[in-house]
Amino acid sequence: MTAAETHLVSVEHVVKEFRLSGGFRGESQIVHAVSDVSFYIDEGETLAMVGESGCGKSTVGRLILRLAEPTGGTVRLEGRDLGALDKTQMREARRAMQIIFQDPYASLNPRMNVYMIIAEPLIAHKIYNTRAETENRVRELMSLVGLRPEQINRYPHQFSGGQRQRIGIARALALNPKLIVCDEPVSALDVSIQAQILNLLCDLQRGLRLAYLFISHDLSVVRYISDRVCVMFLGKVCEIAKTEEIFEKPMHPYTRFLLEALPKPNPHARKEKKALLAGEMPSPVNPPPGCRFHTRCPKAGEICRIDEPKPMENGGRTVACHFPGA
């Protein structure tokens, strides 16, 4: 466990299941949202979580922040098991980990002005004694994220999407966190605004030595911002590797399909016969036995239907596939 203690965050065999109380007959079903996921994040690095909707990437982010309780497994922050902390200790630990949300409209309370939104973490943790000190800090945060401090009394609806996202970032920075979970932070934004926010996130990371867990479905954004990438499919990790390695030499068949499917902003790269993933996403209520990807995988052999491949580490890369790179 000594290795785990050196990481900023380590996630060990985490499981999350939701119970769906369903139907007329009232039988409940279990959704296997996250099944035995392990990875780590180091200080100052960006780990991207990639996958399609329903793969559990957002749930993983919430499990780290304890916005949801894991059904099993351990999340450690600087070696400390978060599950073993009491309420007060957890409140303290929370200061080190913050989140930025996808929807800059839903994530800000429409009835609070910018001051109240950004000051909320400061007030909740009683960081300052006077309103003047708090307000100073709020103004400082606003200029840090590129907002004009004189707009401190405005309400969220008076800002554009990109500016609202900056407000959310300022709120996340208020307590000087070490990790920020970015849950699709730019997918709701226009291209030109997206670039502004990505640049801001990069600058902040450099200046404040932040670590990001960058949850995204957009591989071009991921390629730009992340140091390492973790690809998930239906609650399982497929592959974790350095960004260049993933993009240049994907080992897991699913990763390859993801890369191939991405529309490339270059008409000369058009392919009439792209290899497309066939079929539909299996249900997380009844995940396929064996490798969860085998029903859609062209490379699947007999063993994939029976035996679930374990994530294997090899030269800093982790791949969960019986036929990696095949």
Binding site: G161, V191, S192, A195, C202, Y224, P263, K264, G279
Partner: protein
Amino acid sequence: MLEIERLRTHFFTSRGVAPAVDDVTITIPPKSIVGVVGESGCGKSVTALSVLRLVSSPGRIVSGSIRLDGEELLTKSGSAMRAIRGDRISMIFQEPMTSLNPVYTVGRQVSEAITLHRNVSRAEARDGTVEMFRAVGIPEPEKRFKSYPHQLSGGLRQRVMIAMAMACRPELLIADEPTTALDVTTEAQILRLMKELETAFGASIMLITHNLGVVAEMCDYVYVMYAGRIMEQAGVFELFDNALHPYTSGLLGAIPRPGGGRRRLFNIEGMVPSLLGLPRGCRFSPRCERAVSRCHEEEPELRGVAGEHSVRCFLYGGEGGAVS
């Protein structure tokens, strides 16, 4: 085939008139995919709704002409327009969940679209629907006929929407951000399907999107819109190889690209102007790095530069007006 000429659709709000679509001319030739790209608020969706005459109050088509095979649509009566919608021109939307009625089966909804425009029996409509489901790649079409929208995945729902849109073999399909709500692998499937349908049915597609990747993969010809105006138009290869307008090249520079590493992305400073307070001169001038004083004074015309490439910028084309 479809000619939109000098279209102006304005919104008459309590705070003033917002020119959401301002003097827009778009031509969609037969059997082609034409892209309309821009950021939110540029007027691309309003343009699409104007073609179907579905702009709702306080919006109104102020002037211009929209012709389908030479037939003027703007003077058609309400019932004549309804007969065209879903038959000769149909539309698919971004969110397939909200565009399908949750209380009817998808089969019934598609059959109804057919019986509405074709004088066929219910059994014939049903067969047509199943055939259409098969054409758009819905597995087990007979079984899916009886499914309710919530029982289908996002990708399947979008296929149902496409089946409904294509059911009457329209000449023009307007697709408003058809894949924005979908995952990448599903997006790729839907895009391929649309391309195949274009070839198989000979329909033209007006593809409205903010995603330049989608444009590069799909379109033959592209219009770039900004604040209600067309800023640049060109064939797809020309546009990506030789983007002239600072806005277009800014958009292209803002996309993270492979091989770029961690270099800073190109920033278009500021944000899209409010349609109620448009800047003087060129609408992009306040955000433009290359703006000169003239850009803040008068608005450039859309001018041809080479072949089918036109651009609305003083830096290029015509009149010896190049200020470089």
